[in-house]
Amino acid sequence: MKKNIVAMLLAGGVGSRLNILVRQRAKPAIVFGATYRIIDFTMSNIANSNIDVVGVLTQYKPLSLMEHIDNGRPWDLFGRTRLVEILPPKTGEEMSDWYKGTSDAVYQNLGFINDFAPELVLVVSGDHIYHMDYNPLIRYHLEKKADATICLINVLKKDAHHFGIADIDSKGRIVKWAEKPKDPESDLASMGVYLFNKNILISSLNRSARTNGVDFAKDVIPAMLKENKVFGFIFKGYWRDVGTIDAYWNANMDILRKDSGLTIKNWRIKTNTSAKGEIGDRPSSYFSQSCLISRSLIARGCIVEGQVKNSLLSPGVRVHRNTVITDSIIFHDTEIGSKSNIQKCIIDKSVTIGNAVIIGTGNPVQNKKFPVHLHTGLTIVGKNANIHSDIKIGKNCIIRPGAEVLKDCCSGNTV
């Protein structure tokens, strides 16, 4: 089947800075905006740009991702000429192995790309929250007669060291490139969105493989800058790498802020609502006489009797009477007893919280084990944890998945 363009979606990232949220799932599979997963944004961007062949490269804990992508139908990438294919690492073929990096993953799946004999290959990451029509990028790429075009976005100078940073000349050609530089010379960060001419991509990947290159940003792009015409395409709009717990929380809160630029409805983001454990057949949410709700996003299947402020509730969350939830993100099927108080907390799926539990109280001591992950006051509670009645939990705490919490936990501690 001949296609003009094929998208390769990198969804294998561990996202280890997200700590226990990525214990049982890959970063792209993390719940976002109550009913979505992070990968939905890239999947929807691809589908809305009318690109209809997508290879999803998975490696780390792919099960929940595979279930979510299913047959591609939620994004209408399903039919005789439209498809999503999950491309896990494989053995038994020449050169096949675990994916050693982003470019290696694509390199090991050149066969998939060649099946469609495309002129162009779009390589995107499933880790980001943004809305982009890739067609202007494609037009720009063709207009510039580029070999490769990299999407760039202006970031704050102080954050630039987290990203690949590019410098472009007046024609838009990338003249300098540095991956996560200590002293960034520019504020143009790579969004992890690359558009390649297929033949150039193949020769670059072959060349890179000969020198043990495995990563687009570290190996392939720097080599291409010397040999090929690599252009930068500057994207204006909302874009977040939700790679840290703090960034993840903030981007979720952006949904509740009217002027944040994150408008899921206008962005036409689609998700798989019928996968196991999702919204599925749940009835609409019930709000009792005692509830009090402000500035919150509440998915189907919740029962709310308490107070919810500035928070996001995924399907099946139950909040009992006289409980107050503030600035928090609660995943599917978590139940919170009465008279509890939960502040600035991310609570994973199927957590049970008893009565009169207080979370997010005390001094903002950074997490002792993972000070880099947790230092802004957020507490995270892992999947299936059980927090008994009358327990107090501080700020910057980590409650591990499945933990039985029978004792108070001061700020900065890990259970």
């Binding site: 899921i264 036409r268 009835p283 609409s284 949410s285 500035r295 996003l297």
Partner: protein, 412 residues
């Protein structure tokens, strides 16, 4: 799997629901936010492991056809499972629209004969209840019944029902359709389980007569000649046949008489614009005892009400004791009391609907609309500051011009 083929009567217009059934069969009327009435029987059949269903449909079937889709939402898809919409059809010789419930089944005998099932369940798609038909099936076999009819005990007497008298052995000894003075409290749920051979026999003999209704023409005739048994159903059952009972059924959900989390009702979630691709509800308002579906944006007040997906309640607006269907927007400071509002309507800022004249019955439908409910049809467009009294019906797609509509009016 039980040895039963189901034929569901889903084609009724039901005039008593006024403009809610203007463009759809009763079984396609939305309910409880995200469902349609037919979801209840389809889910019941699914949970009872009945694998093949024929849906007899005649009146405005479009919404129903798109709702059923492939049947996958109720698991009626597979090599041995299926759902088929059986509409009236042309054949050689004489043919016609369905002339009654029994005629609809009679015309589809070829469908029945495609299957090996020895028992045929015939039931209406218009009722709200949760029932497992397996105990009914076992009872039917145990009694060696020709037909078993489900009854529900109702205190309130009405002339709308069929009533049965059942003896100690469960045998039906009397049956009267819509009697002036009911002989008992046992109301037929219009759920019949027939032996196939017996069904074919009586349909053949009924086909020569002039009227073709199970309740009116067939059951009274066979009560004394055949093994007709009654099966008592004890749980919640709602007829929801009138505007008033439809409203009450909705309120029953809010009052906890119905526990949907236990009923496990399935619906078509992929249907265009129903639930699919909608954002969760955004709530920044005052909510009390309400059901709110996805993509509702609530900045005002919602009390004792049920909102389908995509309803907007702007700041200062109040929705009380009301049922609002999909994608209706209620602008600033509008006030709705005891209103049933169909899809895609716009209630202009400052409008007040249903707050006065509750004691004035509808002039056109005095028997149907007299309890203070106001019904707004699909695509209603109510301009700013319009005042509309109770017991009023606004038919679909009406662009209201007058600023005051007296209670008991019909606007078409």
């Amino acid at each position: 799997m039980i040895d039963v083929l189901a034929l569901i009567l889903a084609g009724g217009r039901v005039d008593e629901l006024l403009c809610l059934t203007e463009n759809r069969a009763k079984s396609a009327v939305p309910i409880f936010g995200i469902y349609r009435i037919i979801d209840f029987i389809l889910s019941n059949l699914m949970h009872s492991t009945i694998d093949n269903v024929g849906l007899l449909s005649q009146y405005r079937p479009q919404e129903l056809v798109s709702h059923i889709g492939t049947g996958e939402h109720w698991d009626f898809i597979g090599r041995k499972r299926g759902i088929r919409i059986l509409s009236p059809y042309h054949r050689l010789g004489k043919y016609d629209w369905y002339k009654g419930t029994a005629d609809a089944v009679f015309q589809n005998i070829p469908y029945i004969e495609e299957f090996n099932a020895q028992h045929i369940l015939i039931a209406s798609a218009d009722h709200i209840y949760r029932m497992n038909y397996e105990p009914l099936y076992k009872y039917h076999l145990q009694k060696n019944a020709d037909v078993t009819i489900c009854f529900k005990k109702l205190k309130t007497k009405s002339t709308r029902f069929g009533y049965g008298v059942i003896d100690n052995n469960g045998k039906l000894i009397d049956y009267q359709e819509k009697p002036k003075t009911p002989p008992s409290e046992w109301v037929s749920m219009t759920v019949y389980l027939f032996k196939k051979d017996f069904l074919l026999e009586i349909l053949e003999s009924n086909s020569h007569e002039s009227s073709h209704e199970f309740g009116k023409d067939i059951i009274p005739k066979i009560v004394n000649t055949n093994r007709v048994f009654g099966f008592a159903f004890k749980d919640y059952w709602s007829y929801a046949r009138t505007i008033d009972s439809y409203h009450k059924t909705n309120m029953d959900l809010l009052n906890g008489k119905i526990d949907l989390s236990k009923w496990q009702i399935r619906t078509n979630l992929l249907e265009r614009s129903v639930c699919r691709d909608r954002l969760p509800a955004y709530i920044n308002g005052e909510i009390s005892n309400a059901i709110i579906s996805e993509e509702c944006v609530i900045e005002g007040k919602v009390k004792n009400s049920i909102l389908s997906p995509g309803v907007t309640v702007a700041s200062g607006a109040e929705v009380i004791d009301s049922i609002i269907f999909h994608d209706t927007s209620i602008e600033k400071n509008a006030k709705l009391q005891k209103v049933i509002c169909d899809k895609d309507s716009e209630i202009g800022a400052g409008s007040v609907i249903g707050t006065f004249g509750t004691e004035v019955p509808s002039r056109e439908f005095p028997d149907l609309l007299n309890t203070g409910i106001t019904v707004l049809g699909k695509n209603a467009c109510i301009p700013q500051n319009t005042i509309i009294g109770s017991n009023t019906v606004i038919f679909p797609s009406m662009q209201i011009k007058s600023i005051r509509i007296e209670p008991g009016s019909s606007v078409r």
